[in-house]
């Protein structure tokens, strides 16, 4: 059986873990096997976060370099960092254009890399590259914390997952607090629309 592999890249505090968990809950509800490896170390302190999600029969929780079918990049530089290592040639990249400058940039030790440079690298490896301001959409939906749902919506709309949008939304209803459901669903749908209208 084929295995579907996604790499999720971001920064601590961006809610990548919840996005990962909703994918897992959806897969389990659909009777599929899932294996997730998360690398977060001390990410609460602004460090990089990476999630490897594999749907299907597989042993290792870590995806081999250049074998991921899709890259879900919550932050531009982190997306580039993980994409060049893990995305298979011609894979799908969905990337939030919002930048989170690290302390090296804030304190003036380094500059944030040129956006065009990063996109050039991503273009070289991606068969399809969708870049949009997911955090901006989440703010429009009501709270920047819902960036994760915007990203998930875009991934669902891409059609690469072995399950549809509706299945993820029903996992969201079961696993996310009622209080935030409307916001999350709105953000999810905005992400789906953003993917469809990206070129």
């Amino acid at each position: 059986m084929s295995v579907f592999k996604i790499v999720i890249a971001g920064v601590g505090g961006q809610g990548t873990l919840l996005a990962t968990r909703l994918l897992a809950e959806t897969a389990i509800a659909e009777g599929m096997n899932i294996r997730i490896g998360e690398t977060y170390g001390m990410a609460q302190r602004g460090g990089p976060v990476m999630g490897h999600v594999q749907i299907g029969e597989v042993y290792s929780p870590q995806i081999r370099p250049r074998e991921a079918d899709a890259l879900l990049g919550f932050e531009l530089a982190e997306a580039t960092r993980r994409g060049v290592t893990y995305l298979k040639q011609g894979g799908l990249s969905i990337v939030n254009s919002r930048k989170i400058p690290p302390v090296e940039v804030i304190s003036g030790m380094r500059r944030y890399p040129d956006e065009e440079e990063l996109l050039r690298l991503l273009r070289q490896i991606s068969g399809r590259l969708a870049v949009f301001d997911a955090t901006g959409l989440a703010e429009e939906a009501g709270d920047p914390i819902a960036t994760n749902m915007v990203m998930l919506g875009a991934l669902a709309a891409s059609g690469v997952l072995p399950f549809g949008k509706g299945k993820i939304l029903s996992a969201m209803r079961k696993n996310v607090s009622q209080r935030f459901l409307e916001l999350n669903a709105k953000a999810f749908n905005m992400g789906a629309d953003a993917f469809m209208s990206s070129t």
Partner: protein
């Protein structure tokens, strides 16, 4: 999650008591117990440290109750004193302890392989490969512990503790056991001094029985058809890499595989039998060549000509996690298989050249940042040069004091060491500041503090007190007046302990009040003898969690008043601040700002204020 599966396994086995001290990658075991303990009738506590945790659980074990202790690998260093006695005296109720090791040091200061300590102390070790194993092995560990009367180590690595996957559950058993101290087994008076005092032989005999059990235990899985010339002994989590490699290489069925769950004591006959039939064997494990060394010893007796490959033979790296690519290559080498690699090193090095590392930093609004900032100013004012004192840090978020732009911490070692090493420096005439957090203070600093007072050490101590064990997920500490399961209890304050230990100069300041903190630090630096300032303010992330969904009003930079000096960024460096290179003005990200207002105190131009 692997850690959650461990708790499930313990519950299925009828665990009655659990204790832990938070530490990544083990913390979620305690977090999960804290959530379900009341409902399940389990006593769970965050203990003061790992040694106390083990003592608590051992006490219950001597009364016939099943218990679990969990800790990150280095926690066992702290608990080792009692661990050794538990192994020698033996257990009654099953005692399982989890050592969550951290190969590649994802969240640790050292990469320690705790199987050596298990070996040293006659403790059986089980190593799960995934969450399903973690649950199943835990349940089995209780049976084994009670049969052998030994504590059992469930040894995970970060990749197992933090792995998520489907887990098939089994039935929860809640056997009602009478809690009764077993005088005949554990009392010096009843059992007799001679029986309890010298127990090395008993421990060895117990371990021999465990070894016999491990020879045939179903957890060790040998896949072999008999005509393979090569084999892999895949220990714990590395089994995943091995199986994926065999699939990739199309070598399934060409290489015999022993999935080894029991790394101490090794099932000698099982391994010896495997070695007899092959020319080469590769041992995969993390991070040390623990099994490999013992396989070499077995090979000497059973199959002296077999080539044992692994870390000692340099076929695998001697430190760190293994990873799929490494294992693919080493198996391909062993069986002369082709391994196609579509390389992308050029693009990867291009990316590395333009990317930053994304160094760790204290969160936006973190109270430690102003504490360090004020401490630097105070040292400069009193001593002239900020590097005229050695800043000895400790273990926790505040250990990030070394990171730019504050860059003010010279050393950190292990829990509580800041106060100890500072004394040695002070006793030979070197000025120091010990920089320690509240959680760490309770864990390991109190004997060192008493030592300083008794021995007249001239040391200055700053307690970075943010009210929670933040680094590992905001677990409560003794100052909060609540237990792990949310019951209210007596608050124990650091200033009271310090005064009771004989520290005469103890001040408490608000970490957000830069001026007051700076003045308090100056007074401390001018004192002779042991002097302490507690810089107190609740962790900003925890404060926001408690306010949710509300947030304090953020601060903003008045673009007219900002002079573009970047002082706020280059000397303070809160992640909510940023600088617009074109406009030459600073600004504040309102989604990150926690409204602490300290940057407004830092700004000389008076350009920062609370947003209306």
């Amino acid at each position: 999650m692997g850690n959650e599966a461990i708790v499930r396994g313990a519950i299925e086995a009828g665990v009655r008591i659990a204790a832990s001290y938070p530490g990544t990658p083990a913390s979620e075991i305690g977090n999960t117990f804290a959530e379900i303990a009341k409902e399940m009738g389990i006593h769970f506590e965050w203990s003061a440290n790992e040694k106390v945790a083990l003592e608590v659980v051992y006490g219950a074990s001597m009364c016939g109750q099943r218990g679990m202790v969990s800790m990150k690998h280095v926690g066992l260093n702290v608990a080792l004193d009692i661990m050794e006695m538990v192994a020698l005296r033996g257990v009654k109720g099953g005692l399982v302890f989890v050592s969550a090791d951290d190969p590649s040091q994802h969240s640790s200061g050292q990469e320690q392989d705790q199987r050596w300590l298990a070996k040293q102390n006659c403790i059986p070790v089980l190593e799960p490969s995934d969450p399903q194993d973690a649950k199943n092995y835990t349940a089995y560990a209780y049976e084994l512990s009670e049969r052998s009367k030994l504590p059992v180590m469930l040894r995970t690595v970060t990749r197992v503790s933090h792995m998520r996957s489907n887990v098939r559950l089994d039935e929860i058993k809640r056997p009602e056991r009478e809690a009764e101290f077993d005088f005949d087994e554990f009392s010096y008076v009843k059992a007799g001094f001679d029986k309890l005092f010298y127990r090395e032989r008993e421990a060895n005999e117990k371990l021999a029985k465990v070894r016999a059990e491990f020879e045939t235990i179903h957890l060790n899985k040998l896949k072999r058809n008999g005509d393979e010339k090569a084999a892999v002994i895949a220990v714990g989590q590395t089994y995943n890499y091995v199986m994926d490699a065999l699939i990739k290489l199309g070598a399934k069925g060409k290489v015999a595989v022993l999935k080894l769950a029991t790394s101490n004591p090794l099932p000698e006959k099982l391994i010896g039998g495997l070695l007899k039939g092959v020319d080469k064997v590769l041992v995969t494990e993390e991070p040390d060549p623990f099994v490999e060394l013992h396989v070499k010893a077995i090979a000497k007796d059973y199959a002296p000509k077999v080539e044992v490959r692994g870390k000692m033979s340099c076929h695998l790296p001697g430190e760190g996690e293994l990873g799929s690519s490494t294992v693919d290559q080493s198996i391909a080498d062993m069986i002369d298989a082709e391994l196609s690699i579509d390389d992308r090193t050029d693009l990867e090095s291009e990316a590395r050249n333009i990317l930053f590392d994304r160094m760790l930093t204290l969160c936006a609004g973190c109270p430690h940042r102003p504490s360090i900032y004020a401490l630097k100013k105070a040292v400069r004012a009193v001593k002239g040069d900020i590097h005229s004192v050695v800043v000895n840090g400790d273990i926790g978020c505040y250990g990030l004091a070394w990171s730019p732009p504050l860059s003010y911490e010279d050393t950190y070692f292990c829990m509580g060491a800041s106060i100890g090493v500072s004394q040695g420096m002070a006793q030979v005439g070197v000025d120091t500041v010990a920089w320690i957090g509240d959680g760490t203070f309770f864990h390991a600093a109190i004997p060192a503090l008493i030592n300083a007072v008794q021995n007249k050490a001239d040391i200055k101590i700053v307690v970075a007190d943010n009210g929670v064990t933040a680094m590992t997920g905001f677990q409560p500490n003794p100052q909060q007046g609540r237990t792990a399961t949310g019951e209210s209890t007596k608050r124990i304050m650091i200033e009271d302990i310090a005064r009771a230990c004989g520290v005469e100069h103890v001040e408490v300041v608000d970490a957000y009040d830069l001026k007051a903190a700076e003045e308090a630090f100056k007074r401390m630096l001018k004192m002779s003898g042991v002097a302490m300032v507690i810089s107190r303010r609740l962790c900003a992330t925890e404060a926001i969690r408690q306010m949710r969904p509300n947030r304090p009003a953020p601060y903003e930079v008045d673009q007219e008043k900002c002079v573009g000096c970047q002082l706020c960024l280059s000397t303070f460096g809160c992640p909510a601040l940023s600088f617009d290179d074109e406009k030459k003005r600073a600004s504040i990200d309102s989604t990150l700002c926690t409204g602490c207002g300290v940057c407004a105190e830092v700004c000389n131009a008076g350009s920062i204020g609370r947003r209306n």
